[in-house]
């Protein structure tokens, strides 16, 4: 039997005895602990009391289970939360539509700028050609309006006006506004 001075050493065994009772001690350690138990009545008594306590606790503590309706009740609560997610989805769709609209606006703005520039360049070119004829040649205006080139002058002026009108019209009408979806 262990002397009282060895009880501190016996206490070191308590963890392992508990694991032995719970079946959690590796076999090599279990052999060592069993050898100690064979020689130590104090530890045998402790093991016996621990095993009884362990068994009593295992039997005494209730092991409740979830009720059968648990999943259905949880699903009902989650379903209530899902419309909030639906609103989120609609919001995300609106954000996406907004982004598409911005892209469309940028695209048509570029087209408008290109058409405007082409129209303006055409008009300017025609006006320059006409002015060359009118200003730089002798007896310019009269000669131009009465001479053999008058058709060219009138044609150039008309073409310039037509080009300016077409360019301006295209730039005004080319941008088709996309429709917003209703939600």
């Amino acid at each position: 039997m262990n002397a009282p001075s060895n009880y501190a050493a016996c206490e070191q065994y308590e963890h392992e005895i508990a694991d032995l009772v719970d079946g959690l001690l590796p076999e090599t350690d279990a052999r060592r602990v069993r050898a100690h138990l064979a020689d130590c009545p104090r530890c045998r008594a402790w093991q016996s009391r621990y095993a009884a306590m362990n068994e009593q606790l295992g039997a005494a503590l209730p092991k409740p289970a979830l009720s059968p309706g648990f999943d259905a009740a949880l699903q009902a609560r989650i379903d209530v939360l899902k419309p909030a997610n639906g609103r989120e989805a609609r919001r995300a769709a609106a954000d996406q539509e907004h982004d598409v609209l911005l892209l469309t606006l940028r695209k048509y703005t570029r087209r408008k700028a290109v058409l405007g520039a082409l129209g303006g360049a055409t008009a300017a070119g025609c006006i320059i050609i006409a002015l060359q004829r009118l200003v730089l040649q002798e007896s310019a205006l009269q000669a131009a309006l009465q001479g053999s080139d008058r058709l060219v002058v009138f044609g150039a002026i008309g073409a310039a006006i037509a080009a300016a009108v077409i360019g301006w019209t295209l730039s005004r009408n080319a941008m088709v506004m996309p429709r917003f979806a209703r939600w």
């Binding site: 621990y50 606790l57 005494a60 503590l61 209730p62 009740a73 949880l74 939360l81």
Partner: protein, 183 residues
């Protein structure tokens, strides 16, 4: 199990991930709630509340902690909030308190009246709250230290020490009763 769920979470498929989380975690969430609240109905409500919170928080889960660790932390917080909601000024030792009645109700679940079992449960009630939780959870989790450590968010060694102290305390408390019987 967790790998499939975490893959879905990484892909942003939160609803599908939640469908897998519920069967994988609901029982352990419930058992953890049982060990803290000591009342089957309250534990089931807490398990529902926990899983609803998981559903709401799932898009924000960043994977820094393991999924189980995260869910059990939510469970413990939910249970602590439930305990705070109860009347804070009533002592757990007051036989008329809700807690004492819950404990009595919990104790009454299971086998028919057994004086030894009732005495053991009374002794268990006298232990510090953390030791009680660990003991209850240990037997609810089929004596798995790993499961208790994961659920309580504690290192394995800490859980073993806590359980050892709790069972030693119970044995010390139970000894006078046995000695009286022997006399």
């Amino acid at each position: 199990m967790d790998a499939g769920i975490e893959q879905l979470l990484a892909e942003g498929r939160h609803a599908r991930a939640f469908d897998l989380i519920v069967p994988a975690f609901r029982d352990r969430v419930f058992r953890l709630a049982c060990s803290i609240l000591r009342d089957r109905a309250a534990a089931e409500d807490a398990a529902q509340e926990t899983l609803v919170r998981v559903w709401k928080a799932l898009p924000g889960f960043d994977g820094r902690a393991a999924l189980g660790t995260w869910i059990y932390a939510i469970t413990r917080n939910t249970c602590l909030m439930e305990i705070r909601k109860r009347r804070p000024t009533v002592s757990l030792d007051d036989p008329d308190s809700d807690e004492a009645q819950h404990a009595a109700a919990a104790a009454s679940v299971g086998p028919a009246a057994d004086p030894e079992r009732d005495n053991l449960l009374r002794l268990l009630e006298s232990l510090p709250a953390n030791q009680q939780e660990a003991v209850r959870l240990f037997y609810l989790e089929d004596r798995s230290y790993d499961a208790v450590a994961e659920s309580l968010g504690m290192p394995l060694g800490t859980v073993k020490n806590l359980l050892h102290r709790a069972r030693k305390n119970l044995m010390a408390l139970a000894q006078p009763v046995h000695e009286e019987k022997a006399a």
